[in-house]
Amino acid sequence: MSDIPEGLKYTEEHEWVRETDAADEFLVGITDYAQGELGDVVFVELPSPGDSFARMDVFGTIEAVKAVSDLYSPLSVEVVAVNEALNDDPALVNSDPYGEGWMVRIRAGDMSELDGLLSATDYAGHIEG
């Protein structure tokens, strides 16, 4: 059973969104379920701070040994920071997907879009369904 922490928001494409100290800023990563399905992550291609994405735009890619997936922006965002640690150690996505394996820190352009994201319970239903 994969780990789906309460208090985070989720997308059907297996990203999670976590609140930060700043009201309109969030951390984004991929779920424990997603990292398990991909297997050993060997590379994460991330955007640059300052880049903007509409909701559901591809903001990066994640590569495992013999698979690659797009990363979808859960909200309309501007990228504030990216997790540089993943350049040296992409396996952080496997070992700590909700912590050190975070990918981007974003500023939301339209807070109402948060309401369209899934709760932990909804996401658990989604991956079981």
Binding site: V42, F43, E45, T61, E63, A64, V65, A67, V68
Partner: protein, 444 residues
Amino acid sequence: MSFVPHSDADRREMFAKVGVSDIRELYSDVPDSLIRDALPAMPDALSEWEAVRAIQELADQNHSLVCFAGAGQYDHFVPAAVDHLIRRSEFYTAYTPYQPEVSQGTLQVIYEFQTMVCELTGMDVANASMYDGPSAAAEAAVMARAVTRRDRVLAAGSLNPHYRKVTDTYLRGQGSELQGIPTGLDGLVDRDALAGALGDDVACLIVQYPNFFGVVEEIEPLAEMVQQAGALLVVVADPVTLALLRSPGELGADIVVAEGQPFGNPLSFGGPVVGLFAAKQRYVRKMPGRIVGATVDVEDRRGYVLTLQTREQQIRRDKATSNICTNQGLNALAATIHLALLGREGLREVAEVSTRNAHYARAKLEALDGVDLVYPGSPFVREFAVKTKENSRAILERGLSDGILAGVSLSRFPSLGAPDGLLLAFTEKRNRAEIDRLADVIAG
């Protein structure tokens, strides 16, 4: 593997499935004038000896010429050992390994090939080869657009027109096109024009080194200008001259491509050949083609693998870096063996003798009436262009009757904006007696 031909019933079923009634409908994009409805009349069956004789008679119609033509492909000597080794059954396949890890020998050769390409070009990483120089240049332009996420591609006006055309075709498929940068009176890229063309939507500049006219382009200042504008510098190199020149990598190039034909591959009336492709390490994930890496197995023994396959079409599908997921296996093998036979010193000697021949020829030709260098003040290595008062095609005709291929006519390439004349190339196979005959042909 046995060959199972389609039956008429198979064909009918497939036509029905895709909704056509005749095979010709699948070729509707091919102009009618290019389609033959019937094969030319074929002779009756021949015995083996009769067939050999008939084919030999055809082959004998080829003229053996002393070759001063270059323009991208060069008449270098290929030692007999190359042909002998590539025909060993362990190696003899034209194709890329598809169940790669069982073919350790093939992978090791590709790994050595990549290492040699890196050493020649001064770059960090090379792939397992491309179809040829022009498609390698086009892939470099595509890659530069992916790396920079920018649209426009600039190319020096002194880029080989064939490379320009192939690259432009690729770019048009992506909704972009190639924009030429004029050549200055010294044969080098006009830097004022380049400065005017650069902008925040430019992905790269493609420049040839030495350029189409044989002039040694100044790479370093171009790299600075282009990179300051946030674009990449793509260098198309003559790989033989890299034995003498500072490497494009050392001079700041981001991507280096080349026609690898001069290594191990005879001219053969135009192919098959092999493209070289190398880049800086930080762009490796945007590179086209296959890449072989070295690793160790569970028992700590050295082994080779196809690596970074997630860039490739069989995994990344429509988001692959390129639709190339093959390599020129046999041609790259020939190049690797030839380079290994030559070694660093041998390749340098090949380049030096070629250069000495070119400079001997320049002195001879400069002395002729009605012949002038196109770029008299500019440095060149083994190829240069001359203006001729006489129609260059007439000179070529005269050469043919004397067994001399007296270069390539510049008038074949109106897009260059060059005067009529000849582009002349020299290799280690030429000698002074042959160059004297060339001068006689051109003198008339």
